[in-house]
């Protein structure tokens, strides 16, 4: 579904990505693992158009995403839950969700709203609350729910576990699995490698801007390097 080839991204003089290539198939959960500064977030941002690569290709179902503005990429069915959630603090929960559905004018919005409430019942209790007042976990739920409102075909998730209590992390990951089962393709960036590998089908390991390793989730979990570097053994 998504295909990234030999991607180079630079911040001024600093090359953040060097020839990154990856693929996400329909219905998969693919995870990108890596340390701080390895280039995980940069990869996601480049896919969703916030950053422009100096080289390489990104194609979604054989259509190039290069030089396509971020908002137009959303209209092609890619939703991005950014790192740090980035919900609109001053908007209410409902308004945040409706912003997720900004490009849509179809009749399915109501149904999708119900679906989000089904996944995150907490949100339906806080509809008129200003989003800035939500707890961290609720904000993460809102961020994911907001992305789902775009009814995307591909969901980019950036560190959904960041700053959350372990109980909440599990709850979020359960939900991600749920969403995937309903047919959503997911590209997941995580530092919490154990959690990520437990739900992903395949994974890539990114080190200083390059793909160091790739394989199925099981293969990666068994890899000695991965175990040492990311699973804390």
């Amino acid at each position: 579904m998504l295909k990234v080839e030999s991607l180079d991204v630079a911040y001024g003089e600093i090359r953040a990505l060097k020839g990154v290539g990856l693929e996400v198939g329909q219905g998969e959960i693919v995870t990108i693992l890596g340390n701080n500064g390895a280039g995980k977030t940069t990869t996601l941002k480049t896919i969703s158009g916030l950053l422009h690569p100096t080289r390489g290709t990104i194609t979604l179902e054989d259509q190039s995403l290069l030089r396509v503005a971020p908002h137009a990429i959303v209209s092609r069915g890619v939703a991005h839950v950014p790192e740090g959630r980035r919900i609109f603090n001053r908007l209410t929960v409902r308004e945040n969700l409706m912003m997720g559905a900004y490009l849509r004018s179809d009749s399915g919005i109501g149904a999708d709203l119900e679906r989000v409430f089904g996944l995150f019942p907490r949100l339906s209790e806080r509809l008129t609350q200003v989003a800035g007042t939500l707890s961290g976990g609720e904000q993460q739920m809102l961020a994911i729910g907001r992305a789902l409102m775009a009814s995307p075909r591909l969901l980019l998730l950036d560190e959904p576990s960041m700053g959350l209590a372990p109980v909440l992390v599990e709850q979020i990951f359960d939900t991600i699995t749920d969403i995937n089962r309903q047919g959503m393709t997911i590209l997941l960036v995580e530092q919490n490698a154990a959690m990520a590998l437990s739900i992903a089908h395949r994974g890539y390991v990114l080190e200083t801007g390059e793909i160091a390793l790739t394989g199925t989730a099981a293969e990666l979990s068994d890899n000695a390097d991965v175990r040492r570097a990311y699973l804390g053994e």
Binding site: V74, A79, I87, M99
Partner: protein
């Protein structure tokens, strides 16, 4: 000191202040909306505002020359003029953004500020060039509609004219409409979303550039409406007469908490009332030692005081100041 006099003129001064305040509020909206979205002071807004007044006067003079000024019902004429002024100012604001600000959007923060000041002076002289060619005049007078000049004398010291009611009514209508647009519609929510986080907004599929243009359009249109009302109320405009009210309105926007729409309104009213009361009472209270000319000093002193105790403006709670 003539206490009776002091009390006697109070209601009239209050009314004067409210009219002025609404005027400032309408102009301040343009500053505050743009600031909310781009965190940048659009200095050219004072010319966008006066441009609306010029288009308004041209429409009125046009109507007059074909004899329709008195032929049409006056509310229709007013609406026509307002719409024309709003459209013109809105489009000008969008053009200015496109030409002078968008290319600089990535630049250091003060660079577009200087661009804005440059545009402001450029527009002043451009308006003058066009007007001097077209009308061979510097000052333009708003043609009066007789109905607007009707006055109701409530007491010896208080009277209310129709046009001041029109100004207050018009301003309230505008503010209400803006409130609806920003808080009740999808694009309004999008504007607020962009104001808060452009990148996140673009990830929602919002075309940030279009929303910014839209913000300029709405802010400009509010300025244009203010321009027309300004012309109707005070009667005389020239290419440079937007600058000072613009500066004051900008002050009002900061007073209320810049980037904050209700704040702009509150700030405008506070500043308008302050000015009116200072100008009317200072001389009376000090026996002529300090006169109306100190009104700006008073206004600015109070501004400084308010900002010392509420560094983010009167309603500035929601606006985050970057440390």
């Amino acid at each position: 000191m003539d206490v009776e006099l002091l009390i006697g003129i109070f209601p009239q001064v209050l009314l004067d202040g409210i009219i002025l305040g609404f005027m400032y509020a309408l102009i301040a909206l343009g500053y505050t909306m743009v600031y909310g979205v781009l965190e940048f002071i659009n200095f050219a807004h004072s010319e966008i505002f006066i441009f609306g007044a010029f288009v308004g006067v041209e429409v009125l003079l046009g109507l007059k020359s074909i004899g329709l000024l008195d032929g049409l019902p006056w509310p229709l004429v007013l609406v026509l003029v307002l719409v024309a002024g709003m459209a013109a100012s809105g489009l000008l604001a969008v053009t200015v953004e496109r030409v002078a600000y968008r290319p600089l959007r990535g630049a250091p923060r003060l660079i577009p500020l200087i661009s804005a000041i440059g545009i402001s002076f450029f527009l002043q002289d451009l308006i003058r060039l066009v007007e001097s060619l077209w009308r061979n005049a510097f000052n333009l007078v708003y043609p009066t509609m007789d109905v607007l000049n009707l006055r109701f004398e409530l007491s010896e010291t208080i009277d209310v004219s129709v046009k001041s009611l029109v100004v207050i009514g018009g301003a309230l209508l505008m503010l209400w409409a803006l409130h609806l647009i920003v808080n009740r519609t999808k694009v309004g929510t999008a504007i607020r979303a962009v104001a808060e986080d452009q990148a996140a907004a673009s990830l929602m599929g919002i075309d940030v550039n279009r929303i910014i243009s839209l913000t300029f359009l709405i802010g400009g249109a509010m300025g244009g409406a203010a321009g027309v009302l300004f012309g109707v109320q005070y009667g005389l405009i020239n290419p440079y007469s937007g600058f000072i009210p613009g500066l004051k309105a900008f002050t009002a926007a900061v007073l209320g908490g810049i980037g904050n729409i209700p704040g702009a309104m509150v700030g405008g009213l506070v500043l308008g009332l302050l000015e009116a009361f200072a100008a009317a009472y200072l001389s009376l209270l000090t026996g002529g030692a300090f006169g109306a000319e100190y009104k700006d000093i008073l206004a600015f002193s109070i501004l400084i005081l308010i900002l010392i105790f509420r560094p983010k403006g009167l309603l500035g709670e929601v606006v985050r100041e970057r440390a």
